[in-house]
Every structure is written in C-alpha cells, then in structure tokens.
C-alpha cells in the first residue's frame, strides 16, 4: 500500500500494522499496538462468522487505536453490522478472537465503557424520552444524581430537552435516532459504536452528528462508525476499512488511501491513435469517449505534464479539469473490483 506512514504515533502505527495485515490477507499476523506500548481500543484477529455454508465475515483482522475515528464501510450485506454485533457480544463469532480495551468481548467491566447506537434504533416506544434514558442509565448502574445529570446533558446534546416528557412513539425517525445517540453516550463511553448514525437525519442533523463525532474525538473517545454515507465518513474519519462479502478489501489511513490521486478529464481535438497510446502509456487511462479522455494520476504535479504531452503529440487541448479522488471513487473502484490505484 502506497504512502504508508512512519509509526510515529499510535494512530499511524495501527494504520501501518493494519495495512500489513491486509496486505497479507486472511490469517495474517494480528495488527496491534502492544509493541508500541499502546493497548488498542478495538482489535480482532481472524474474526469469522458463518451461517451454515454462508460466510458473513471472513478472517477480520483489525486494530483501532484509542482516540481514533474509524470508518467501517461496505455495500449492503457486506457484513458490517455483523462485525459490530460480534464486537458487542450480540452474536458469537464462529472463529477468531476480539478484544475491546484490552479485554475479551463480553467482559462486564468493558461493557460499562461502551456506547452503541444500533442500526435500526428500535426502542421501547411506550416510554417517555426521559423514562427511556432513565432505564438505560440504570442498566449502567449509574447512581441517581449522576444519572439525572447525564440525562440532562445528553438530551441537551441531541437537542431533545423539550421532548423529555413525550413518548417515543410520537417521535419522528430522526428524533428516534437522536435519542438513540443520547442513550449511547449516557455513560460517557470510551468507545462509541455508531451503526448508520445519520441514516434518518436531515442535512442539519447530519452536520450536528459530524460535529458530535469530532467532539468525541477531541475528548479522546474512540468512534467505530458504520456508514453508507461516504461523504460523512470522509469528513470525520481518521482511518477506514472497506468490507466486501465478509472480507476487508482495503484498509488504511484515509489520507493514505486517497493520497494525492486525481482524475483528469481532457477535451482533446485532433486526437490520433499515437497520442492516445502515448497518454495511456504514461498515465492510467480511465475512460476515452471521442474527444473526451479521462486519466488517473497519483500526484497533482503530474497534471502539467499531461497538457505538455497532448500539445507535443499534436493534439489541441480544449479543456482540462482535475478532481481529487473521493472516498466514494475509492469505494466504487474497490467494491466493483476496480484496478489498484
């Protein structure tokens, strides 16, 4: 994997080891931070889940540093929620191991330090919002005064203070998602698992959740973010893994994965077969349709050379548009089996 960073801090170290494990494929040595003296917030080694012949998750090896915002991506049915459920003890792995905060999954002491927003955020809707949070705070065994204080704080955080007496069945989907986020943060958790936390929110709500995630990072929390919304992930995550058909197909620091790669779209007159061959030989030819040619470059500094090559080859350059690769481009390329960038 290009651009692998030096292991100068814990996050980078995790990224590097995670990449190494990925590069080796399933069954690779576990990534981890123990060599650097840092206990990973989340780590798994060859985690597997099968249902009969169907492999839902295949040999997942991850290590996520404390304080990291980790984006877990994948198409529908890739196994993302299965992984989250295994890490939270909702379903049991068919093989492999996982640890949270250095302890095996299911450890009661660790569970007190986790927060979780489930994907479908279905709650007991006969409860009032305040009763709902009271119940969940009690599950954390929080003493009364602390419970009341935290309920007030999280309601304020998700903007539902005025709805404390309303029953959940009167809430919109977006409000249910907000109250779900509130229950996930009641215990001031060290690791927060958010499974599609913005799926029911409007653009303003999404921005609030992004800000909230950044705030959690500033507080040193680890956030495990499952999401389809790649632009959201791109805006907040330090590192991502892309899961496809139960296997991690790409993993790394976001800045390394996206790098400086650009897509350059050209409008060329007088295009000759020789010129096309010349461009395809020097750059990655992504698309060619009449006078429109799209090339991929790994570095912004390559862009002037493209213009020079067109002119030197006798072409007439009518337009040149450069666009940085987005996470969505990477996701589509990886999931659709696109070529390596």
């Amino acid at each position: 994997m290009e651009g692998r960073p030096a292991a100068t801090d814990s996050t980078r170290a995790v990224g590097a080891r995670g990449d190494a494990a990925m590069g080796a494929g399933d069954g690779a040595a576990p990534p981890g931070l123990r060599a650097t003296g840092v206990t990973p917030a989340i780590e798994s080694l060859n985690l597997r889940k099968t249902y009969g012949q169907h492999v839902a998750v295949s040999g997942l090896t991850l290590a996520i540093a404390p304080g990291e915002i980790f984006g877990f991506l994948g198409p529908n049915g890739a196994g993302k929620s299965t992984v989250v459920k295994m890490l939270l003890g909702l379903i049991f792995p068919s093989g492999g191991t996982a640890r949270l905060l250095g302890r095996p999954i299911g450890d009661a002491g660790v569970k007190a330090r986790l927060g979780f927003l489930p994907e479908h955020f279905r709650f007991h809707e006969w409860l009032q919002a305040g009763e709902f949070l009271e119940f969940h705070a009690s599950l954390y065994r929080m003493p009364g005064p602390r419970r009341r204080q935290r309920i007030g704080e999280v309601l304020e955080l998700v903007g539902l203070t005025s709805r404390v007496k309303d029953r959940l069945h009167t809430f919109s989907k977006g409000m249910l998602q907000r109250i779900g986020i509130a229950q996930a943060l009641l215990n001031d958790p060290e690791i927060v698992f958010l499974d599609e936390p913005t799926s029911a929110l409007d653009p303003l709500g999404r921005r609030e959740v992004r800000d909230l995630i950044r705030k959690l990072k500033a507080q040193g929390k680890t956030v495990f973010l499952n999401s389809h919304l790649l632009s959201e992930v791109e805006m907040v995550c330090d590192r991502v893994a892309i899961l496809d058909r139960g296997r991690v197909v790409r993993q790394g620091l976001l800045r390394d994965l996206l790098g400086e790669s650009h897509e350059v779209e050209l409008q060329i007159g007088n295009m000759t077969p020789e010129l096309r061959q010349e461009l395809a030989g020097r750059y990655r030819l992504l698309r060619a349709d009449g006078v429109a040619v799209t090339l991929g470059v790994t570095c912004r500094d390559e862009i002037p050379g493209i213009a020079e090559a067109v002119i030197r080859g006798g072409g007439r350059l009518y337009g040149l548009t450069a666009r940085r690769f987005s996470l969505e481009d990477l996701f589509v390329a990886v999931v659709e089996g696109g070529s390596e960038r």
Binding site: G89, G109, F116, L117, F121, H136, L139, R141
Partner: protein, 282 residues
C-alpha cells in the same frame, strides 16, 4: 439488575392493552360470577329439598367455586403464555434488545428479570381473582375450601409452569413457533386430563395411562385437578348421599408429588431458557 429488568417488564406488561383487556374482562367476569352465584343460592334457598340438606348445598357451593377458579386458572394460563410468548424473540426480531444486551449486564439477568416481572404480574392476578372468587362464594353460601392456601399455591405453580415453558420457547424459537407449540401443549394437557378422568370413571387403564403420560409431558392439567381437589367439596352429593364428580371436581386427584414434579419441570425450563439465551445470536 434482575429487579430493574423485572420492574421494567412488569411496567411494560401492565401498559399493554392485551393485559388491560384481560383485567377488564376478569372484572366483568367477577361481577357476573357474583350475580350468578347470588341468584343460584337464592334459588337453592327457596328450594325445599336442597335448602334442607347441608351436604348437597356444600357440594354445589364447592362446584360453583371451582367454576370460578377454573376460569381464573384458565385465563391465568393464557395470560402467562401470551404475555411472555414473544418477550425475547420479538425483541430480537424488532431489535429492541440490541441496545440493552451490550450494556453491563449478563444475559441470564435478562431472562430471569423478565420472568420475575411476568411472575409478579401473574401472581397478583391469580391471588386477587382467586380470593375474590372465594370471598364471593363464602358470602353467599358460607363455603370455604379446606385447603385454600395450598390450592392457591398450586394455581400459582400452574401459571408459573406455563410462564417458564413460554420463556424457554421465546429464548430459543420465533414468537409464532413458540406460541403455537406452548398453546398446543396447553391444549394437549387439557385433553389428556379429560381422558384420564374418563378412564378413571369407566375403569379404562389405557385412557388413564394416556393421561399420565400427558401429565408428564406437560403437567398443567394435573395441577388443575390437584387444585380442584384442594378447593372443591369433593363432588356433588345426590339423593343417595354418595358424592359424584361434578363438571369441575375430580374423584381421583393426582398425588401431591405431581406438584413437586411440576415445580422441578418449571425450574428446569427456566434454567434451560437462560442457557439457550446465553448462546443465542441476536
């Protein structure tokens, strides 16, 4: 944690309209039962033949009490099944448990907490309605069951047995499958119990054996027959002075060991429920 979950389950059950409906219908039943027994005893007291025979009057009183208790026992059984049939499986299907199980609690606490919540609700129902039926009959006829406390205990055991069985089903199966299986077992017990009584009456050992095997598979009707022997007056007394089994009384009740067997059965079902839920993917 168990008590927290029990309180939560109790609150949820009480807020459900099905339970509320059951309570309202039971109140209606008790009202009709009170009026019905009042009119029945007024007629008995005006009947020259019946009013002069205390044994006959006592037999009728016992039979009328058993009619009320049969209703209570039957409805409590239905409530036990239908209130708990999906308490875990439906919460898995809907995903409401997904926000609870990752919290710092153990899975067995979820099962036991829910069981305790339902058990408290059902116990209140059984005790209140049973005492109401006893009081109604007592004030009309002066009849009081010989073993009221033990009978009430067996009725509670019957309800908790069905609750434990339903908890085992909801911890392992889908809601619909559990509902069908537990209700079928309940019905099987009723039919098996009737066959055993018929076998006793006509001295047919095959029918008696069928009843015994059925009671071992699901001892719910056996518990009712034990209740009946404790709460009833030993049958109806006819002109010859020999007690005959009425519609709700039994002539050959099961041994009290059947209550012990049922208690062990319920405990095993509950432990099995916790073990099954401990390894279930949610």
């Amino acid at each position: 944690m168990v008590l927290l979950l029990a309180r939560f389950t109790l609150r949820e059950a009480v807020r459900k309209k099905a339970v509320l409906g059951g309570v309202v219908l039971t109140l209606v039943f008790l009202l009709l039962y009170g009026v019905g027994t009042y009119l029945a005893f007024r007629d008995i007291d005006h009947n020259q033949f019946l009013s002069g025979q205390p044994a006959v009057r006592r037999g009728i009183s016992g039979e009328l009490l058993l009619a009320g208790l049969y209703f209570v026992d039957f409805i409590a059984g239905l409530l036990a099944i239908f209130s708990s049939v999906g308490t875990i499986s439906t919460e898995i299907e809907q995903g409401t448990l997904h926000a609870i199980v990752p919290k710092p609690l153990r899975r067995w606490e979820v099962v036991i907490g829910k069981w305790l919540g339902f058990a408290a609700m059902l116990a209140i129902y059984v005790v209140v309605t049973t005492l109401a039926a006893i009081v109604i009959v007592y004030f009309q006829s002066g009849y009081y069951p010989r073993e009221a406390g033990a009978g009430l205990g067996v009725m509670l055991l019957h309800t908790l047995l069905l609750l434990s069985l339903s908890m085992l089903g909801t911890s392992t199966l889908s809601t619909v499958t559990n509902g069908i299986i537990v209700f079928m077992l309940y019905a099987l017990a009723l039919v098996g119990g009737r066959l055993e009584q018929l076998g006793t009456l006509i001295r047919n050992q095959t029918l008696i054996d069928i009843g015994i095997v059925t009671s071992l598979i699901i001892p719910s009707d056996a518990l009712w027959r034990l209740t009946s022997s404790m709460m009833g007056a030993g049958g109806l007394v006819t002109g010859g002075g020999i007690p005959q089994p009425g519609m709700f009384s039994v002539t050959d009740p099961p041994s009290t060991w059947m209550a012990v067997y049922a208690a062990v059965y319920a405990a095993v079902a509950l432990v099995a429920a916790t073990l099954a839920f401990r390894r279930r993917d949610l």
